[in-house]
């Protein structure tokens, strides 16, 4: 029975959390009040771990919360519950876009949201940068990586691994 409840609760989060992973946090706090699956303190730890491990924060938190509630199967069911509404909504939108891709109104909307998306990405990046760059060493590492990426365009996975290695070597 707990599996059904988990699926239902996380499908609700997937349906109402507009704007990505961090938006699911208030919903998870509600869950910690409504059920005794995890405490708000545990949730805070879950957020910290989810942000620093591979995978999208929202997906990681769902697996974590589901695991706390009902072990391995609970984690899997909560995560699948979270993504099921997305699959249906996105398929509907994709169908619409394919059908009206040549419509001038759809074209106008898409071309005018592009500069706004650029602004959104710049602001979000600035936020991440103020959190991540905390001293001169951080800034030096960041600057070296930024120049390297600009001039030697390689696969980003290479740079993720390189920056992890640089962090271990230079920061310990």
């Amino acid at each position: 029975m707990i599996y059904l409840t988990l699926f239902y609760e996380f499908a609700k989060i997937g349906l109402f959390a507009i704007g990505g992973g961090l938006v699911t946090i208030p919903f998870l706090f509600d869950l910690s009040e409504k059920f005794n699956w995890f405490t708000p303190e545990q949730l805070t730890n879950m957020i910290a771990i989810s942000e620093s491990t591979p995978g999208a924060v929202g997906v990681n938190m769902a697996t974590f919360a589901g695991f706390q509630a009902a072990s391995v199967i609970g984690g899997i069911i909560a995560t699948i519950g979270l993504v099921v509404p997305s699959i249906f909504i996105i398929v509907l939108i994709s169908k619409f876009l394919q059908q009206y891709a040549c419509d001038t109104r759809v074209q106008t909307v898409l071309s005018s949201i592009r500069p706004a998306v650029l602004a959104l990405i710049i602001f979000a990046t600035a936020q991440i940068m103020t959190l991540s760059i905390q001293n001169a060493l951080d800034f030096a590492l960041f600057a070296i990586l930024a120049v390297a990426i600009r001039f030697y365009q390689k696969n980003p996975i290479f740079y993720i691994l390189l920056s992890a290695a640089m962090g271990v070597i230079l920061k310990l």
Binding site: A17, G19, G20, G21, T24, I49, E51, S52, T53, P54, G55, A56, V57, G58, V59, N60, T63, F64, F67, G75, T79, I80, P85, S86, I87, I89, I90, V91, I93, S94, T108, V109, L110, S111, S112, I113, P115, A116, V117, A119, L120, I121, A124, T125, I128, S132, D138, L145, A146, R150, P156, I157, I160, L162, S163, A164, A165, G167, K171, L172
Partner: protein
């Protein structure tokens, strides 16, 4: 069958090497899906990133569903979505079950602080490329620079949400039509 397999590998990789939220996913998914596999164009990816911010759900999941659907219809969307969440399920289950204390390891912490800097550098690179591309492709440069500045203003002064910014930009795109309409009605 081959396409399904490629979908699984690409989105498993994307899930595995994304640290943080949907934004950190963009450089990886662009390298994999746009540059390497050429499944969708860069424009489609960023249009979809914008749409994902205004629709329910996790951004990386929405983008995976979109790419999968484009290639193989409904089941392609399902397969890509499952592939992108699998690394999370595996890694978090492991951590939740045995490794929660392992996360305080100093080596791991410094690796993560390095990764955060790498993600910042990757995003900066993406911003340069994207800005250049939007500017050169724009057919109405004045209007689009105006929308960009307006969006910055909304974010800086009003701390507006992504949904509000995207909707305002979409409406602003119709301003030139309004002027044409007015001119016509004056005649």
């Amino acid at each position: 069958m081959k396409t399904y397999w490629e979908l699984i590998i690409s989105f498993f990789k994307t899930g595995l090497f994304t640290f943080g939220g949907g934004l950190a996913m963009l450089p990886i998914i662009k390298a994999e899906v746009v540059d390497r596999r050429k499944w969708i164009t860069e424009d489609e990816l960023f249009d979809f990133y914008a749409i994902s911010q205004c629709t329910p759900g996790i951004i990386i999941v929405n983008t995976a569903t979109f790419c999968g659907y484009r290639l193989k219809g409904f089941w392609g969307g399902v397969v890509a979505t499952l592939a992108v969440i699998t690394p999370s399920i595996l890694i978090i289950t492991l951590i939740a079950a045995v490794l929660s204390r392992f996360m305080d390891n100093p080596y791991l912490e410094s690796a993560f602080s390095g990764i955060r800097l790498g993600v910042c550098a990757l995003l900066l690179n993406l911003i340069f490329d994207l800005g250049k591309k939007i500017y050169t492709q724009s057919s109405q440069k004045k209007l689009h620079i105006g929308i960009f500045l307006g969006a910055c203003f909304m974010l800086l002064v009003f701390k507006a949400s992504a949904v509000a910014v995207v909707f305002t930009a979409a409406l602003a795109g119709f301003l030139p039509y309004l002027r044409k309409f007015r001119k016509r009605s004056h005649k």
